[in-house]
Amino acid sequence: MKTVFVTVGTTSFDELIETVTTSETVQAIKARGYERLVLQVGRGSVLPAADSCPHITLEAFRFKDSIAEDVKQADLVISHAGAGSCLEAMGAGKSLLVVVNDKLMNNHQLELAQRLHQDSHLLYCTCSTLTETLRTMDLSVLQPFLPGQPEKFANFLDNALGVQ
Protein backbone atom coordinates (compact mmCIF):
# COMPACT_ATOMS: atom_id res chain seq x y z
CA MET A 1 0.00 0.00 0.00
CA LYS A 2 1.36 3.37 -0.91
CA THR A 3 1.89 5.17 2.34
CA VAL A 4 2.15 8.73 3.55
CA PHE A 5 4.06 9.20 6.79
CA VAL A 6 3.44 12.40 8.71
CA THR A 7 5.96 13.34 11.38
CA VAL A 8 6.26 16.27 13.78
CA GLY A 9 9.36 15.04 15.56
CA THR A 10 9.31 15.87 19.23
CA THR A 11 7.21 18.98 18.78
CA SER A 12 3.51 19.54 18.96
CA PHE A 13 1.84 20.52 15.69
CA ASP A 14 -1.88 19.98 16.16
CA GLU A 15 -2.75 22.13 13.18
CA LEU A 16 -0.92 19.81 10.83
CA ILE A 17 -2.48 16.68 12.30
CA GLU A 18 -5.94 18.21 12.12
CA THR A 19 -5.45 19.48 8.57
CA VAL A 20 -4.08 16.23 7.24
CA THR A 21 -7.06 14.29 8.58
CA THR A 22 -9.78 16.50 7.13
CA SER A 23 -11.80 14.74 4.45
CA GLU A 24 -10.65 17.27 1.88
CA THR A 25 -6.99 16.52 2.50
CA VAL A 26 -7.55 12.79 2.77
CA GLN A 27 -9.27 12.91 -0.62
CA ALA A 28 -6.29 14.76 -2.07
CA ILE A 29 -3.99 12.10 -0.64
CA LYS A 30 -6.11 9.30 -2.03
CA ALA A 31 -6.29 10.97 -5.43
CA ARG A 32 -2.51 10.62 -5.55
CA GLY A 33 -2.75 6.89 -5.06
CA TYR A 34 -1.83 6.73 -1.38
CA GLU A 35 -3.90 4.30 0.65
CA ARG A 36 -2.30 4.42 4.06
CA LEU A 37 -1.68 7.36 6.33
CA VAL A 38 0.59 7.05 9.35
CA LEU A 39 0.75 9.94 11.81
CA GLN A 40 3.51 10.54 14.34
CA VAL A 41 2.00 13.25 16.54
CA GLY A 42 4.71 13.87 19.12
CA ARG A 43 3.62 16.07 22.01
CA GLY A 44 0.47 17.22 20.24
CA SER A 45 -2.90 17.04 21.92
CA VAL A 46 -4.52 15.52 18.85
CA LEU A 47 -3.99 11.77 18.56
CA PRO A 48 -6.51 10.38 16.07
CA ALA A 49 -7.82 6.90 16.76
CA ALA A 50 -6.80 4.22 14.34
CA ASP A 51 -9.12 4.03 11.38
CA SER A 52 -10.99 7.15 12.47
CA CYS A 53 -10.65 8.38 8.90
CA PRO A 54 -13.00 6.81 6.44
CA HIS A 55 -11.62 5.96 3.00
CA ILE A 56 -8.01 5.57 4.15
CA THR A 57 -6.09 3.23 6.44
CA LEU A 58 -5.00 5.36 9.36
CA GLU A 59 -2.46 4.73 12.11
CA ALA A 60 -1.27 7.18 14.71
CA PHE A 61 1.26 7.20 17.50
CA ARG A 62 3.20 9.71 19.56
CA PHE A 63 6.78 8.55 19.70
CA LYS A 64 8.95 5.61 18.87
CA ASP A 65 12.61 5.06 19.70
CA SER A 66 13.20 5.20 15.99
CA ILE A 67 10.97 6.18 13.09
CA ALA A 68 13.41 4.71 10.60
CA GLU A 69 11.06 1.88 9.74
CA ASP A 70 8.08 4.19 9.24
CA VAL A 71 10.18 6.42 7.02
CA LYS A 72 11.41 3.40 5.09
CA GLN A 73 7.88 2.18 4.43
CA ALA A 74 6.65 5.58 3.34
CA ASP A 75 6.30 6.70 -0.24
CA LEU A 76 5.86 10.30 0.83
CA VAL A 77 6.94 11.96 4.06
CA ILE A 78 5.10 15.04 5.28
CA SER A 79 7.13 16.65 8.02
CA HIS A 80 7.42 19.69 10.22
CA ALA A 81 10.46 21.84 9.47
CA GLY A 82 12.68 20.22 12.07
CA ALA A 83 16.16 19.44 10.84
CA GLY A 84 16.26 15.96 12.31
CA SER A 85 13.02 14.92 10.66
CA CYS A 86 13.98 16.47 7.33
CA LEU A 87 17.42 14.91 7.31
CA GLU A 88 16.04 11.53 8.27
CA ALA A 89 13.51 11.56 5.44
CA MET A 90 15.95 12.83 2.84
CA GLY A 91 18.64 10.49 4.06
CA ALA A 92 16.26 7.62 3.36
CA GLY A 93 15.75 8.94 -0.16
CA LYS A 94 12.10 9.78 0.40
CA SER A 95 10.08 12.51 -1.24
CA LEU A 96 9.58 15.14 1.41
CA LEU A 97 6.92 17.79 1.83
CA VAL A 98 7.67 20.15 4.69
CA VAL A 99 4.80 21.95 6.38
CA VAL A 100 5.94 25.11 8.04
CA ASN A 101 4.33 25.97 11.36
CA ASP A 102 3.71 29.66 10.91
CA LYS A 103 2.55 29.93 14.51
CA LEU A 104 6.08 29.45 15.79
CA MET A 105 7.98 32.64 16.53
CA ASN A 106 11.62 33.06 15.56
CA ASN A 107 11.58 29.74 13.87
CA HIS A 108 15.20 29.34 12.89
CA GLN A 109 14.48 25.86 11.64
CA LEU A 110 12.98 27.56 8.61
CA GLU A 111 16.46 28.48 7.37
CA LEU A 112 17.28 24.88 6.61
CA ALA A 113 13.90 24.05 5.09
CA GLN A 114 14.09 27.15 2.87
CA ARG A 115 17.60 26.36 1.69
CA LEU A 116 16.75 22.73 0.99
CA HIS A 117 13.67 23.87 -0.91
CA GLN A 118 15.81 26.29 -2.91
CA ASP A 119 18.12 23.43 -3.77
CA SER A 120 15.09 21.30 -4.78
CA HIS A 121 15.50 18.71 -2.08
CA LEU A 122 12.01 19.13 -0.65
CA LEU A 123 8.66 20.77 -1.23
CA TYR A 124 7.31 23.32 1.14
CA CYS A 125 3.93 24.64 2.25
CA THR A 126 1.86 25.73 5.25
CA CYS A 127 -1.18 24.07 6.81
CA SER A 128 -3.48 26.36 4.88
CA THR A 129 -1.89 25.42 1.55
CA LEU A 130 -1.35 21.73 2.32
CA THR A 131 -4.39 20.40 0.50
CA GLU A 132 -3.68 22.45 -2.60
CA THR A 133 -0.03 21.43 -2.58
CA LEU A 134 -0.97 17.77 -2.34
CA ARG A 135 -3.22 18.18 -5.35
CA THR A 136 -0.73 19.98 -7.54
CA MET A 137 2.73 18.93 -6.39
CA ASP A 138 5.30 17.53 -8.78
CA LEU A 139 7.61 15.21 -6.87
CA SER A 140 9.72 14.48 -9.91
CA VAL A 141 11.57 17.80 -9.53
CA LEU A 142 13.12 16.72 -6.26
CA GLN A 143 16.86 16.16 -6.26
CA PRO A 144 18.53 13.50 -4.11
CA PHE A 145 20.14 14.80 -0.96
CA LEU A 146 23.66 13.50 -0.69
CA PRO A 147 24.92 12.57 2.77
CA GLY A 148 27.38 14.80 4.57
CA GLN A 149 31.03 13.87 4.69
CA PRO A 150 32.27 13.73 8.27
CA GLU A 151 35.52 12.21 7.07
CA LYS A 152 36.52 15.66 5.81
CA PHE A 153 36.16 16.90 9.36
CA ALA A 154 38.15 13.96 10.71
CA ASN A 155 40.94 14.51 8.19
CA PHE A 156 41.09 18.17 9.08
CA LEU A 157 41.37 17.45 12.79
CA ASP A 158 43.93 14.74 12.27
CA ASN A 159 46.10 17.16 10.33
CA ALA A 160 45.61 19.92 12.87
CA LEU A 161 46.55 17.65 15.76
CA GLY A 162 49.30 15.81 13.97
CA VAL A 163 47.53 12.49 14.29
CA GLN A 164 48.82 9.83 11.94
Binding site: G9, T10, T11, R43, G82, A83, G84, S85, L87, H108, Q109, E111, L112, Q114, R115, P147, G148, Q149, P150, E151, K152, F153, A154, F156, L157, D158, A160, L161, G162, V163, Q164
Partner: protein, 206 residues
Protein backbone atom coordinates in the same frame (compact mmCIF):
# COMPACT_ATOMS: atom_id res chain seq x y z
CA UNK B 1 8.23 23.44 29.50
CA UNK B 2 10.76 20.88 30.56
CA UNK B 3 10.72 19.59 27.04
CA UNK B 4 11.97 22.95 25.80
CA UNK B 5 15.05 22.69 27.95
CA UNK B 6 18.21 22.42 25.97
CA UNK B 7 20.16 19.43 27.03
CA UNK B 8 23.79 19.51 26.24
CA UNK B 9 26.49 17.06 26.61
CA UNK B 10 30.14 17.10 26.08
CA UNK B 11 32.46 14.38 25.24
CA UNK B 12 36.11 14.13 25.78
CA UNK B 13 38.36 11.99 23.73
CA UNK B 14 41.95 11.28 23.96
CA UNK B 15 44.26 11.55 21.02
CA UNK B 16 47.22 9.29 20.93
CA UNK B 17 49.87 10.37 18.51
CA UNK B 18 51.77 7.31 17.35
CA UNK B 19 54.97 9.26 16.94
CA UNK B 20 55.03 10.77 20.39
CA UNK B 21 54.10 7.58 22.19
CA UNK B 22 54.21 7.92 25.95
CA UNK B 23 55.30 11.51 26.09
CA UNK B 24 52.76 14.04 24.93
CA UNK B 25 50.58 11.16 23.90
CA UNK B 26 47.49 11.38 25.98
CA UNK B 27 45.36 14.15 24.66
CA UNK B 28 41.85 14.65 25.86
CA UNK B 29 39.34 15.84 23.37
CA UNK B 30 36.36 17.49 24.96
CA UNK B 31 33.31 17.33 22.74
CA UNK B 32 30.26 19.37 23.54
CA UNK B 33 26.91 18.99 21.96
CA UNK B 34 23.45 20.13 22.50
CA UNK B 35 20.86 17.49 22.51
CA UNK B 36 17.60 19.36 22.53
CA UNK B 37 14.55 17.25 22.69
CA UNK B 38 14.64 16.62 18.98
CA UNK B 39 17.91 14.81 19.35
CA UNK B 40 19.06 16.22 16.05
CA UNK B 41 22.09 17.90 17.49
CA UNK B 42 23.05 14.74 19.34
CA UNK B 43 22.87 12.88 16.08
CA UNK B 44 25.12 15.46 14.46
CA UNK B 45 27.82 15.31 17.08
CA UNK B 46 27.83 11.53 17.21
CA UNK B 47 28.29 11.40 13.44
CA UNK B 48 31.33 13.61 13.82
CA UNK B 49 32.76 11.52 16.64
CA UNK B 50 32.08 8.36 14.67
CA UNK B 51 34.31 9.67 11.90
CA UNK B 52 37.25 10.14 14.28
CA UNK B 53 39.84 7.41 14.45
CA UNK B 54 40.52 5.27 17.49
CA UNK B 55 43.32 7.58 18.53
CA UNK B 56 40.64 9.89 19.86
CA UNK B 57 40.13 7.98 23.06
CA UNK B 58 39.11 7.97 25.90
CA UNK B 59 36.02 10.02 25.32
CA UNK B 60 34.32 11.77 28.18
CA UNK B 61 30.74 12.75 27.55
CA UNK B 62 29.30 15.46 29.69
CA UNK B 63 25.53 15.63 29.78
CA UNK B 64 23.75 18.64 31.18
CA UNK B 65 20.94 17.71 33.48
CA UNK B 66 19.18 14.42 33.60
CA UNK B 67 19.12 13.75 29.91
CA UNK B 68 18.21 10.11 29.47
CA UNK B 69 17.87 10.38 25.72
CA UNK B 70 21.40 11.56 25.11
CA UNK B 71 22.76 9.01 27.52
CA UNK B 72 21.01 6.24 25.65
CA UNK B 73 22.26 7.50 22.30
CA UNK B 74 25.80 7.68 23.62
CA UNK B 75 25.64 4.19 25.09
CA UNK B 76 24.27 2.79 21.84
CA UNK B 77 26.91 4.63 19.87
CA UNK B 78 29.79 3.56 22.08
CA UNK B 79 28.56 -0.01 22.11
CA UNK B 80 28.63 -0.18 18.33
CA UNK B 81 32.04 1.45 18.37
CA UNK B 82 33.35 -1.14 20.80
CA UNK B 83 32.47 -3.81 18.26
CA UNK B 84 34.50 -2.19 15.53
CA UNK B 85 37.79 -1.59 17.25
CA UNK B 86 39.89 -0.88 20.32
CA UNK B 87 40.07 2.39 22.25
CA UNK B 88 36.50 2.44 23.42
CA UNK B 89 37.03 4.01 26.78
CA UNK B 90 34.47 6.59 27.60
CA UNK B 91 32.77 8.17 30.58
CA UNK B 92 29.58 10.14 30.97
CA UNK B 93 29.56 13.18 33.28
CA UNK B 94 26.79 15.65 34.09
CA UNK B 95 26.78 19.37 34.68
CA UNK B 96 23.83 21.70 35.21
CA UNK B 97 22.42 23.18 32.02
CA UNK B 98 23.42 26.78 31.37
CA UNK B 99 20.38 28.05 29.63
CA UNK B 100 16.85 27.12 28.69
CA UNK B 101 15.22 28.14 25.44
CA UNK B 102 13.87 31.68 25.76
CA UNK B 103 15.53 32.12 29.13
CA UNK B 104 16.21 35.77 29.87
CA UNK B 105 19.67 37.19 29.33
CA UNK B 106 20.37 37.99 32.96
CA UNK B 107 19.26 34.63 34.29
CA UNK B 108 21.23 32.91 31.51
CA UNK B 109 24.40 34.61 32.74
CA UNK B 110 23.59 33.46 36.27
CA UNK B 111 22.96 29.88 35.29
CA UNK B 112 26.05 29.85 33.07
CA UNK B 113 28.17 30.96 36.00
CA UNK B 114 26.56 28.25 38.09
CA UNK B 115 27.41 25.68 35.44
CA UNK B 116 31.01 26.88 35.51
CA UNK B 117 31.21 25.74 39.11
CA UNK B 118 31.00 22.28 37.61
CA UNK B 119 32.77 22.76 34.30
CA UNK B 120 35.87 24.32 35.85
CA UNK B 121 36.79 21.49 38.24
CA UNK B 122 35.88 19.01 35.51
CA UNK B 123 38.20 20.62 33.00
CA UNK B 124 40.95 21.00 35.54
CA UNK B 125 40.72 17.32 36.33
CA UNK B 126 40.50 16.03 32.76
CA UNK B 127 42.74 18.63 31.06
CA UNK B 128 41.55 18.06 27.51
CA UNK B 129 43.61 19.12 24.54
CA UNK B 130 40.57 19.62 22.45
CA UNK B 131 37.01 20.66 23.07
CA UNK B 132 34.45 19.88 20.39
CA UNK B 133 31.02 21.52 20.59
CA UNK B 134 28.05 21.98 18.35
CA UNK B 135 25.25 23.66 20.25
CA UNK B 136 23.77 26.06 22.71
CA UNK B 137 23.98 26.51 26.44
CA UNK B 138 26.45 24.29 28.13
CA UNK B 139 29.11 24.78 25.47
CA UNK B 140 29.87 28.18 26.95
CA UNK B 141 30.92 27.23 30.50
CA UNK B 142 32.88 24.31 29.13
CA UNK B 143 34.73 26.42 26.56
CA UNK B 144 35.21 29.19 29.10
CA UNK B 145 36.85 26.70 31.43
CA UNK B 146 39.01 25.51 28.55
CA UNK B 147 40.11 29.04 27.78
CA UNK B 148 40.92 29.57 31.43
CA UNK B 149 43.17 26.52 31.44
CA UNK B 150 45.09 28.13 28.61
CA UNK B 151 45.21 31.58 30.17
CA UNK B 152 46.59 30.14 33.40
CA UNK B 153 49.29 28.34 31.47
CA UNK B 154 48.04 24.94 32.62
CA UNK B 155 47.06 23.48 29.25
CA UNK B 156 46.39 24.78 25.79
CA UNK B 157 42.87 23.60 24.99
CA UNK B 158 41.84 23.70 21.34
CA UNK B 159 38.26 24.87 20.93
CA UNK B 160 36.56 23.29 17.95
CA UNK B 161 33.01 24.40 17.23
CA UNK B 162 30.82 22.87 14.53
CA UNK B 163 27.70 24.92 13.88
CA UNK B 164 24.63 22.84 13.31
CA UNK B 165 23.49 22.02 9.81
CA UNK B 166 20.27 23.84 10.77
CA UNK B 167 22.15 27.10 10.62
CA UNK B 168 22.20 28.33 7.04
CA UNK B 169 22.00 32.11 7.32
CA UNK B 170 22.46 32.89 11.00
CA UNK B 171 24.64 31.57 13.77
CA UNK B 172 23.18 30.22 16.98
CA UNK B 173 23.75 32.30 20.10
CA UNK B 174 26.49 29.93 21.22
CA UNK B 175 28.01 30.17 17.77
CA UNK B 176 28.09 33.96 17.98
CA UNK B 177 29.74 33.78 21.40
CA UNK B 178 32.30 31.18 20.40
CA UNK B 179 33.12 32.48 16.90
CA UNK B 180 35.77 34.89 18.19
CA UNK B 181 37.01 32.43 20.79
CA UNK B 182 37.31 29.17 18.87
CA UNK B 183 40.44 27.83 17.31
CA UNK B 184 38.44 26.10 14.58
CA UNK B 185 34.90 27.22 13.83
CA UNK B 186 33.07 25.10 11.25
CA UNK B 187 29.99 26.12 9.32
CA UNK B 188 28.16 23.81 6.96
CA UNK B 189 26.72 26.21 4.41
CA UNK B 190 28.59 28.59 2.14
CA UNK B 191 26.20 31.42 3.01
CA UNK B 192 27.55 31.38 6.57
CA UNK B 193 31.12 31.19 5.38
CA UNK B 194 30.53 34.40 3.44
CA UNK B 195 29.19 36.12 6.52
CA UNK B 196 31.80 34.78 8.93
CA UNK B 197 35.09 34.81 7.04
CA UNK B 198 37.15 33.28 9.84
CA UNK B 199 34.98 30.18 9.80
CA UNK B 200 35.96 26.95 8.12
CA UNK B 201 33.77 25.47 5.43
CA UNK B 202 34.25 21.88 4.31
CA UNK B 203 30.73 21.47 2.97
CA UNK B 204 28.23 19.41 4.90
CA UNK B 205 30.03 17.26 7.41
CA UNK B 206 27.14 15.52 9.13
Amino acid sequence: MGLLVHRSFCIFASVYSGELKCLAAVVDVFVKTSSDVSGGHTTEILRLVESLSGTYSPRHYVIADTDKMSEEKILTFEKSRACSGPNSQFTICRIPRSREVHQSWSSSVASTLKAMQYSLPLMFRVRPDLVLCNGPGTCVPVCAAGLLLGLLGIKKVLLVYVESICRVQTLSLTGKILYPLSDFFFVQWSSLKDRYPKSLFLGRIV
